[in-house]
Amino acid sequence: MSHGHDSEQVGHIVPLWLLFGVFFALIILTALTVWTATHLHLGAFNIWLALIIASMKATLVALFFMHLIWDKPYNGIVLVGAFMFVILFLGISLMDTAENMPDMYEGPAPAVATE
């Protein structure tokens, strides 16, 4: 929006160096995530690290390849909103199952008494 064209100009023209720059950053992050997963043993934190790196990659793709940084804010809100709802969905389902574990019977559940 802030670029110098008039409002009739549709879309932002991304310079080539930026496209390639983003691409190389993505490749480097891919290498990084493979490396951390195979060489760093952080226990439960590995998954979070992997997710953080994946989110960084996703952000790069969304902002530059998908033009979000130059786009109408609404489109970005749509994407972020969608992710928020995914997190909501996952979060509550996870909370439920995790919370349920201690309530479980060991072994198969007993049959209900029938008369």
Binding site: I27, I47, L51, V61, L79
Partner: protein, 354 residues
């Protein structure tokens, strides 16, 4: 407002043919289309959310399935495919730029390259899938490890028995109560030893049901439930006040959990080049189910994306696009990027576990 475009457009019409009558200006039409596409992408994200949810729930509760199962996936292929898709995203984004600045030939070449990358991705997936199919490492009832995978999973003798995954082959008559106890003890031993692979992970350790005890949690098919433990509950469960345990009567089929599988023998195995020590977890087929569900749905999206790219190339060859009008290219490429975006998450979640 609209004047500029109608004058430098085709030059003969009031407004160009791509302009629809219910919009006032080209930029209004462009912004509308783009917003529509973004909303559609949001629905795609939520479509995948279901599978991500299943992944998260099973992973959080049964990490061991994932740790064990993921060894049969090849990081090398996954990483190559990631790079292929990233490269295709680059060419796709570049093709939009080419469309904007009017480099028609370049745009077509780039779109074609993008499509080829999609083809390459699918080819690699084909190789991976056929390995899994060959080894019987499939989902649910189709999970029947054979060949090398079977040796890893079943050990020698089970190889002949064949079916591990079928719901009904589960509680092997040959396994007596005593054997199970022994297996459980063995498993406990493994846990005590603090094996990093099997139980060391915080998730797994917390989830003593499945990893350690092998004999896991609740749900068993009714017949087997009857045959095995009837109404006895483990002492520590009975010790909990009934009111605290659960608000409802337990059903014949337990609320949820894992079927106890006889295959809890502590195993030493070479799987996919990894050294596996400790009990083979139950229900590994769920991992493969999720793997196939996620990559399968994603693969379908890649195929759809390729069709869209093909259609864009066709229209570009027909000279439908110009620096004033390239909306379909922009939208099609957005879709392609989303497919990439999802793979960016799938790769570490499936291939880079533990």
């Amino acid at each position: 407002m609209g004047k500029k475009h109608s004058s430098d457009g085709a030059g003969h019409a009031e407004h160009p043919k791509w302009m629809q009558h219910h919009f006032d200006t080209p930029s209004q039409q462009f912004a509308s289309s783009k917003m529509g596409m973004w909303l559609f992408l949001a629905t795609e994200v939520l479509l995948f959310a279901g599978l991500f949810c299943a992944y998260a729930v099973y992973r959080a509760n049964h990490m061991e399935m994932f740790v064990f199962g993921h060894q049969f996936l090849d990081v090398k292929w996954g990483a190559i495919n990631t790079c292929v898709l990233l490269f295709s995203s680059l060419t796709a984004a570049w093709s939009v730029r080419a469309a904007q600045v009017g480099q028609k030939t370049l745009m077509i070449v780039l779109l074609f390259l993008t499509m080829c990358c999609g083809g390459g991705f699918m080819a690699i997936k084909y190789v991976e899938y056929s390995h899994k199919i060959h080894d019987g490492l499939l989902w649910g009832t189709q999970y029947k490890p054979t060949g090398h995978a079977a040796e890893v999973i079943h050990g020698e003798e089970a190889h002949a028995a064949g079916d591990l995954g079928g719901a009904h082959g589960r509680v092997d008559a040959g396994h007596t109560e005593a054997e199970q106890v022994a297996a459980i003890e063995a498993a406990h031993g493994a846990k005590a030893a603090g094996d990093a692979k099997a139980a060391g992970d915080a998730h797994t350790a917390g989830d003593a049901h499945a990893a350690g005890d092998g004999n896991a949690t609740t749900a068993a098919p009714p017949a087997e439930a009857g045959a095995m433990h009837a109404t006895e509950l483990p002492a520590d469960v009975l010790a909990i006040d009934a009111a605290e345990r659960s608000a409802t009567q337990p059903a014949a089929i337990g609320p949820r959990g894992l079927v106890p599988v006889a295959e809890t023998d502590a195993a030493h195995a070479e799987a996919g080049g990894h050294h596996w020590e400790g009990p083979i977890p139950d229900n590994v087929h769920i991992f493969f189910g999720i793997y196939f569900g996620m990559t399968g749905l994603h693969g379908i999206h890649v195929l759809i994306g390729m069709i869209i790219l093909g259609w864009l190339i066709y229209r570009a060859l027909k000279n439908d696009f110009s620096p004033e009008y390239f909306t379909p290219v922009d939208l099609g490429v957005l879709y392609w990027h989303l497919v990439d975006l999802i793979w960016i998450f799938l790769f570490p979640l499936l291939y880079l576990i533990g």
